[in-house]
């Protein structure tokens, strides 16, 4: 660790908005993108100037836009999270079988999903914590198959400090060997041949610090970049 770099404080990490900003930088102009319900939806806010992705929602819209003004909602025009949306010029409606053909059929460029756990083999757990209560899966198990890049955006560790990047998921699986890239509050990590390969990390964090908060070995194939974002 170079002493010229600022010291990593214990709680220094990217904010949710900064994670979303970083993920957005990898989405090219004109890409077809599905953002998971909740936190991943924030990625849409940080598209770089001059780039416009086309967003897909499972319930049957391509190229939807922001929420309408309060009071202007049309409840037949909603996204998969059942929030009211608007349309952009060039939008299209389609039924559910076509919508999931777009997903499984390899037509989406990028899917970005939340995670409870991701394993070094690319397994994802993100739909339920245990076997209690009412189970609900929605489109989670479909969305992990088919897109050219299936990414996760997540805090690096849980609120209690447990690693979310692990050797083997302990929560019920959403999909097996499906995740290709992870954007966390500390790092950008690819999954290649059953290994976590570190691409970028917070400049103030040492390899040892990062490895200590990761539940499986981090591999390095080429120089690790600095994970630097605007203040958001």
């Amino acid at each position: 660790m170079s002493s010229a770099l600022p010291t990593m404080t214990e709680d220094a990490k990217l904010s949710s908005a900064q994670m979303a900003w970083r993920a957005a930088q990898d989405i090219r102009d004109g890409a077809y993108v599905n953002l998971g319900i909740g936190f991943p939806e924030m990625v849409a806010r940080y598209q770089p100037p001059g780039r416009q992705a086309i967003f897909h929602t499972e319930n049957g819209i391509l190229d939807f836009g922001d929420a309408p003004e309060p009071g202007k909602e049309d409840w037949d025009l909603i996204n998969a999270g059942k929030k009211a949306v608007t349309l952009k010029p060039g939008a299209a409606f389609f039924h559910h079988a076509d919508s999931f053909a777009m997903v499984r059929g390899g037509h989406l460029d990028v899917a970005i999903l939340g995670a409870l756990q991701v394993s070094e083999h690319g397994d994802l757990a993100n739909w339920r914590v245990g076997s209690k209560g009412v189970p609900a899966v929605g489109g989670a198990m479909d969305l992990v198959h088919g897109a050219k890049q299936v990414c996760v955006i997540t805090e690096h560790v849980t609120k209690t400090g447990e690693p979310k990047l692990v050797e083997k998921c302990t929560f019920p699986l959403t999909g097996v060997a499906c995740i290709t890239r992870i954007y966390t509050s500390f790092a950008v990590i690819d999954i290649t041949a059953g290994r976590f390969v570190l691409r970028e990390k917070l400049p103030g964090m040492s390899m040892e610090q990062l490895q200590a908060q990761t539940g499986a070995k981090l591999h390095i194939e080429e120089p690790v970049g600095d994970l630097v974002t605007p203040a958001l």
């Binding site: 929602t57 499972e58 319930n59 049957g60 819209i61 049309d74 409840w75 037949d76 025009l77 909603i78 059942k82 409606f93 389609f94 039924h95 559910h96 079988a97 919508s99 999931f100 997903v103 499984r104 397994d123 209560g133 009412v134 189970p135 609900a136 899966v137 929605g138 489109g139 989670a140 198990m141 479909d142 198959h145 088919g146 019920p172 699986l173 959403t174 999909g175 097996v176």
Partner: protein, 240 residues
């Protein structure tokens, strides 16, 4: 040819105890509220209901569950902003649940309508929702066999319909509706606007009339999400 019914009660009158019923909609968008409420007035029991969700608030499918009409739900996401009706019955062991991933649910319904008894999908491979299902490898990747899904009845909300049953939908309210129209032995549709044959441009038809059996006009239909936000509940008998 004229597939019109006089009213919602007549349109759903053939649905009896024990029927398997597909109900269109995704959350509140595309939910055929007037047909559902007419069905609650008739009150057949021991129904199997197929929908993406399992009701919200105290109206629509939630009101069917509250009325004790539903023995089993086949759905992908039995949660909502107010999931009391399903949750209470499920946790009490009074309603069965077959949980199906959303895209698999859509494709099973499509397969049912298309005469394809089973298909293979990557979805759910290696998860608890694939347990007990046949697995096969194609081009080096494992896939899960899923079976078609058919129903005795589908009850559907569309925007415009003509007397032949040709349909158009309103925005994202299309969702599961064209698939369910295909997959049921008898498809019953409420439309906001009912026109004579020729009143819909053939280029604009989304569901061809061959998939539709009965139509009833419900001008200015209720929208489920708007009703829930207004705190409405169904008390019976208001849709004669």
């Amino acid at each position: 040819m004229d597939k019109r019914s006089a009213n919602a009660a007549e349109a759903i009158s053939a649905i009896e105890d024990g029927a398997v019923v597909m109900i269109g909609g995704f959350g509140g968008s595309g939910a055929p509220i007037e047909l559902i409420h007419a069905l609650i007035d008739k009150r057949p029991r021991n129904l199997t209901v197929i929908n993406n969700n399992a009701g919200n608030g105290r109206i629509g499918i939630a009101a069917m569950i509250d009325a004790g009409m539903v023995a089993k739900m086949i759905c992908s996401f039995p949660k909502s902003s107010d999931p009391r009706a399903f949750t209470e019955k499920y946790l009490a062991g009074e309603i069965a649940l077959e949980l199906v991933p959303q895209g698999t649910l859509a494709e099973r319904i499509r397969a049912g309508g298309a005469g394809i008894p089973a298909f293979y999908t990557p979805t759910a491979y290696g998860t608890e929702l694939a347990e007990g299902k046949p697995i096969a490898e194609f081009d080096g990747r494992p896939y899960v066999q899923e079976r078609w899904l058919k129903a005795d009845f589908a009850i559907i909300k569309a925007d415009s319909g003509d007397t032949h049953g040709n349909l158009t939908y309103n925005k994202a309210a299309r969702n599961f509706n064209p698939l369910m129209c295909m997959a049921a032995a008898r498809t019953i549709v409420q439309v906001s606007r009912l026109v004579e044959a020729g009143g819909i441009d053939p280029e604009h038809v989304v569901t061809p009339g061959i998939f539709v059996d009965r139509l009833v006009q419900v001008p200015n239909p209720q929208q489920e999400e708007a009703m829930i936000r207004a705190g409405m509940q169904y008390e019976g008998g208001i849709y004669p």
